[in-house]
Every structure is written in C-alpha cells, then in structure tokens.
C-alpha cells in the first residue's frame, strides 16, 4: 500500500479534487492524504499525573524535523478543528514522533488529547518549524535550561545525540515543581551513561528549592558565559534567564523558545500591527473600527462585499492574534480561524492571510 498508490494518486490528483480523493482512499488507508500530514497514535504513555507522551506514526507527507523544532497538532473539539503547537520530543532518527503534552488548565485541545485520544486515533500535524535547533558546530559546549514541559525540545536534542553515539559537552538544568512532576525522569538519569559529556541537574521549585538565580547558575556551570545557551519553559523562567544574559551583554548567546496559551485580548488595545501574509505588508491600525475599514484606511484593498457581515466575501483566516466581533463582543483567537474582516476589530497584533 505504498509505491503504486502514490503514482495513482499523482494521476488522480489532476482529475479529482483532493478532498474527494482523500475521502475514498481513506477507506483503504486512513492515513492517506494528498498534502496533509496525518498520523496514527501508536501509544499514549503517562509521564506524570499531568503530562502524557503521544507516540505517532505519520504518513509519507511528513518531511522530517530537526531536534528542537515544533509542529502544529490539529484535533477536533466540539466539531471544530483546533490547532496548537507542540515541541517534538523524540530523536530525529526514530521511526515514530513523540509529543509530550501537559494538560493545560481549561485547555480545550490538551484536554481533548488527554481525555479522548487513544492508540489508533488519527491526528493531523503540520510540518516541523522553528530555529530552536543545535548549533552547526558540533564542538560548541551547550547549556540547556528547561522549565516543566519546556524540557521536550531538549529531550529531542539529547535523544538524537545519544542515538548517534555523539560526544557532547552539555549541561542540562531542569526545573519542575516536585520530583513526581519531572518528565522523562528515569531517562534523564540514564542519559549521561549513553551521552558522554552530559551533566544533568534538577531543581524542584515547590519544596523550598531555589528558582533560577545567577548564583545558582555559576555554582552548577561556572563557564556558563562560554556556552551556547538555550532556554525553554514558562514565561517567568524564560524572562529571568533572558534578563541574566541581557545584563551580561550576552543576548546573542541565548536562544529562547516561548510557549503558552494565546494572549487574551486586552480591552482598548490601542494601535496594533497587522501583518498580511498574502500582500506581504505590515500596517498599523487603531483597532477601533472594523478591520476592513481600518485596513482600507491603511492603503490595503482586501476582497469584500456587503460590508455588513452577511456575504462572507471578506472572510480570511487568522494566523495569530485576537479579534473581537463588533456585534457580540466575542473574542476570537484560534489559529486558522475564519474571520469576517467587516465584522471584527483588532484586539492584539495580528497575522492575517490577506
């Protein structure tokens, strides 16, 4: 079910529209897709009470990834396809992908993944993205700072290096609330034996243990300033680490990976920047009247029709940010959510497919 169907699919694609083709061929192979990455869940492993690892086998549309990158995961919740971004936790050379995902409070997607996604389920992925990857120079000493599930991109890096039998000078500092909540705990204990040159230090923040501090860092890694540093974790940790590097004038030595729930819209947002991916332009708008009116005032000419929220000619997808529906006051901030330009106003900086 591999070589010939692909050739057939190539011919069929020109004759039949992809959605129809997928509908019929998914009867034979549920993972079949013309362009989209569909993946079957092979296993679900509990890491901690709040964190699970999903082992996925993607279809042939998956183009691989570099350790440290992330990918979007799309699941259907209440009939709506919702998309979130997660770091890939497995090694680059593994035949399956690993996503290590914490259940967020009130998180619809992480809640659905934890409650409903079982082995055999099919999820949709985006291609891997991001430049939070190891330096090209294999001799550069590394310092990895991880908070909570911010450990996942580093696990991917370390698993990749260990599987390739690499030697690497790496210091890994992990923060977790308490030992039971440290993900991949046993593996972290065993990794130094598989990866010569790796030192692992863990700190637990809820048991009177120190949070990040410059003194603590110097004690564990006196040569911290000479290392390529990476930080990934909750905002508070990332900000504290970034401030330390900035104060030392070493801003460029530190790579940061931010993650978290989408920013809620602030009332009276004030001027916001709207990046339009189709026209390649970024404009600043007041965020008071409808996006359609304000984009036009900024010199753009988005497609539109009735200007009254009826005809949907101005519908476009929201790639990032939050908007408010003018009539109902509802905030919308889902990735790829269709919005009607004439019926919403900007609430944060936006990225729009216009």
């Amino acid at each position: 079910m591999r070589g010939r169907p692909r050739k057939l699919a190539g011919v069929a694609r020109r004759l039949v529209d992809p959605a129809t083709l997928e509908f019929w061929l998914q009867h034979l192979d549920p993972l079949f897709a013309v362009e989209r990455v569909r993946a079957r869940v092979e296993a679900v492993q509990a890491e901690t009470p709040r964190v699970r690892t999903f082992v996925l086998r993607p279809n042939r549309r998956w183009r691989g990834f570099r350790a440290g990158q992330h990918a979007t995961v799309t699941v259907e919740v209440d009939g709506r396809r919702l998309t979130r971004t997660f770091s890939l936790a497995g090694g680059e050379d593994e035949p399956t992908l690993r996503l290590t995902i914490a259940r967020q409070p009130d998180g619809r997607v992480t809640g659905a993944l934890h409650d409903r996604v079982r082995p055999g389920a099919i999820v949709e992925l985006g291609q891997a993205q991001g430049d939070f990857v190891l330096p090209d120079d294999p001799r550069a000493p590394l310092l990895l700072l991880a908070g909570g599930t911010g450990l996942t991109p580093f696990l991917s890096m370390l698993r990749t290096l260990a599987a390739r039998g690499a030697r690497r000078d790496v210091v890994l500092l992990c923060w977790a609330p308490r030992p039971a909540e440290l993900i991949a705990r046993n593996e972290l204990g065993a990794l130094p034996a598989r990866l010569p040159g790796l030192r692992v230090h863990t700190a637990f923040t809820r048991d009177g243990m120190a949070r990040f501090s410059g003194d603590g860092l110097r004690a564990l890694a006196p040569d911290w300033a000479a290392r390529r540093a990476y930080v990934c974790g909750p905002d508070a940790l990332t900000a504290a680490v970034a401030a330390h590097w900035d104060a030392a004038g070493l801003t460029t030595q530190l790579r940061r990976e931010w993650f978290g729930a989408p920013r809620a819209a602030a009332a009276g947002a004030g001027p916001v920047a709207v990046a339009c991916t189709r026209s390649g332009r970024t404009v600043t708008v007041p965020g008071e009247r409808s996006l359609l009116v304000e984009l036009e005032a900024a010199g753009l000419r988005p497609a539109h029709g009735c200007r009254a929220g009826i005809c949907r000619q101005c519908t476009c997808t929201l790639a990032a940010g939050a908007v408010e529906e003018l009539r109902t006051g509802t905030t919308r901030h889902e990735i790829d959510e269709p919005i009607q330009l004439c019926a919403v106003r900007a609430r944060t900086d936006l990225v729009l497919a216009v």
Binding site: D17, A19, T20, F23, W24, E76, D78, G79, R80, R81, L82, T83, G305, C306, A308, I310, C311, R312, Q313, T315, R327, T328, E334, D336, E337, P338
Partner: protein, 360 residues
C-alpha cells in the same frame, strides 16, 4: 401593492431586530459537534449515492439498473447543490475550520463556478434581497414577476421561458452569475471575460458526465450518457421549483432602492422576511430542498447551519405574529401554483401600485 404585514414604528423595528438577533446568537452558541457530524454525513451520503448511481448506470442497459442509477445520481446532485454546496458556501460551517467545508473555497457539481455564485448569490441577492434594480434574482433578468417591473411584449410568452429555464436551470444560474443579462452596455470582450470561468467549469462538468463516464462504460455508454443527462435535468427542475417558491409566491414584496439608505438591522430583517416564503413538508423534503423550504429563516440567518432552521421556525413565526408581520408559508403544491399564477399574471401589462412601507 398592499402588504399583509403592518408597518412598524422605529422602536418596534429595533425590538424586532433585537429578538431575532437573540435567537440567532442562542442557536449559534449551541452549534457544535452534532452539526459537524451532520454536514459530514450529508457529504458522505452525496458521495456514496453518487458513486452507487454511476456504478449502477454501468449496467444501465438493464432498465431497473438504469432507473435506480439515474435516481441515485440525481439525488446525489441535488444534495450536493442544495443541502451541501449552497449551505457551505454561505459560511454555515466555517466555524469548523475545516478547509474542505470552507465557504470561500468550496466547489460544487454545477456548471456555475462557485466563485461567481458566492459573489452574485451571497453578496447581491442576500444583501439586496428583493430590492428592485439591485437584486438581480428578481425574475432572473428574464421574467416579469412583480407589477413594479416594466412590461414589454416579450413578457407575453414568459410561462414558456420559465419552463425552458427549469430544464436548463444550472446553465441559467451560471450565465446569470457571469452577469451577462440583457441589461446594460456590454462589449463582446466583457462577455468573453465573464464567460471564461463558466466555460472552464462547464467543460470539466460536461467532459465528466458526457464523455469520461460514458466511455468508461463501454457498451453501456448510451445508457450512461442518457442517465447523466436525466439526472442533471431532474436536479435542474427540482432546484428551479424550490428556488422559485422562495421569492416569487403570491404575497412576497419588492422594495425600492431608497430603503437601503441607512437601513437598520431591524428593517433589514423585515425586508428579508417579506421577500421570502416557506414550504411545508417532512424532514426528507426539507433535506432535499437544502432547507430552502425554510427560505424565511435562511434569509434572516444565512450563516446559521440550515439543519437548525426547523427548530427556529416556530420561534421566528411567534416573533412575527407578535409584531403583526405576515409569515408566508404553505404546501409545496400551493406555493408552486402561486408562482405559476404570478408568472402568468405578470406576462400581461398591469398597473402596479407602489410598494408598502416597512416603517411607519
């Protein structure tokens, strides 16, 4: 022309609009998994019935197989155009964020390109519903269906035009959407430009129904050809009948362009209500009409999933009753008969009054 609805004060119009807005928001808040599952079921049914119909037509030299195959294919095309295509293109399922069910990219089994349809139907018709001179769907530029429209001798045989239009309805819609009606000054270059997307789409559809599938059938080619032709005709006549009942029954009203100046939401709702009429029937009938049997609810709430109209209808009707607004509904036969009468009546010259005011 007299209205069966009473004129409303500005305050009443505002309250009327608010009540309908509240109903809309309440239903939209409840839209979710069941609606997503439903539209996917409808799509799967369209595909399975289409495949079964085309499959049976390969044995179309046997009359029972030809009848069943043609029937299933007609059913599939009707569901594709009406409950699926028309409703998806209105954005009723955009909230699902499913690119295959998205209003701006959906394509249907019809010679009318979806882009043209989105423009003329969603924009022109749904925004300017029954506004003379703005809504090009009033009589489709072919028929005189209101006394306010000017009469000419060409209108005399218009019952025949209507019958002809029913048979080729998808072509009528396609050409209508390309905006090539008899009105206005058009150079041949403009006509060609307008027709280019139609020609491209039509070529694909014609090739599929009248070349590829007949050839695949070998000796049964004539049966397949005839079955596909019949299925397209059945879909055309059905769509024509349902759609004409939506806006051209006895009591629907037209409006002058002046109503569009600073039109309030309440007024917009009243205009949609008075320009539309419903058909009564069972749930299968509603499905086959793409829920255009709930034309009133559809025009009030074009982007609410159409399967919800049935539950909204009694509440809409109760609101209309309280505000003294006529809720135009009847059986399919009665409404269709009133359409035929309307087309016949206005084929003769008349001395129309002026439209009834909405606002007191």
């Amino acid at each position: 022309m007299s209205s069966r609805s009473r004129a409303l004060s500005p305050q009443e119009l505002q309250a009327f609009g608010r009540e309908l807005d509240a109903l809309r928001d309440e239903v939209l808040a409840d839209v979710g998994e069941a609606d997503a599952a439903y539209v996917r079921r409808v799509r799967a049914f369209m595909r399975y019935s289409g495949a079964a119909g085309r499959g049976l037509l390969f044995f179309g030299l046997l009359p029972p197989a030809w009848l069943a195959g043609t029937g299933l294919l007609a059913l599939s095309k009707i569901v594709d155009n009406m409950e699926l295509g028309h409703n998806v293109m209105h954005g009723q399922y955009d909230w699902m964020q499913d690119p295959t069910l998205h209003s701006q990219t959906f394509e249907w089994d019809n010679v009318c390109p979806a882009d043209g349809w989105r423009r003329t139907h969603n924009l022109t018709h749904h925004t300017y519903t029954n506004v003379l001179g703005k809504d090009r769907d009033i009589g489709y530029g072919l028929l005189r269906v209101f006394p306010e429209q000017p009469w000419s001798p060409a209108n005399l045989p218009q019952l025949l035009y209507a019958g002809g239009l029913a048979l080729v309805f998808q072509w009528g819609v396609a050409i209508h959407d390309a905006d090539l009606g008899p009105d206005g000054e058009r150079r041949p270059a403009d006509v060609a430009r307008g027709l280019a997307p139609v020609a491209k789409k039509a070529a694909r559809k014609l090739a599929k129904d009248y070349v590829v599938f007949p050839l695949l059938a070998g000796p049964a080619a004539p049966a397949v050809f005839l079955g596909n032709l019949t299925a397209n005709l059945v879909r055309n006549v059905w769509a024509f009948a349902v759609i004409f009942c939506g806006h051209f029954t006895a009591d629907v009203e037209v409006f002058p362009e002046s109503v569009l100046e600073d039109e309030s939401r309440g007024h917009w709702y009243v205009r949609q209500l008075r320009g539309s009429s419903n058909l009564e029937g069972g749930s299968l009938f509603h499905l086959l009409t793409g829920n255009l049997s709930h034309q009133i609810e559809h025009h009030l709430f074009p982007d609410v999933p159409a399967r919800r109209y049935a539950e909204m209808a009694p509440r809409v009707r109760a609101i209309c009753d309280r505000y003294g607004q006529h809720y135009n509904t009847g059986s399919f036969a009665a409404q269709l008969w009133s359409v035929v009468k309307r087309i016949a009546t206005h084929s003769l010259p008349s001395f129309g009054g002026s439209p009834a005011p909405v606002e007191a």
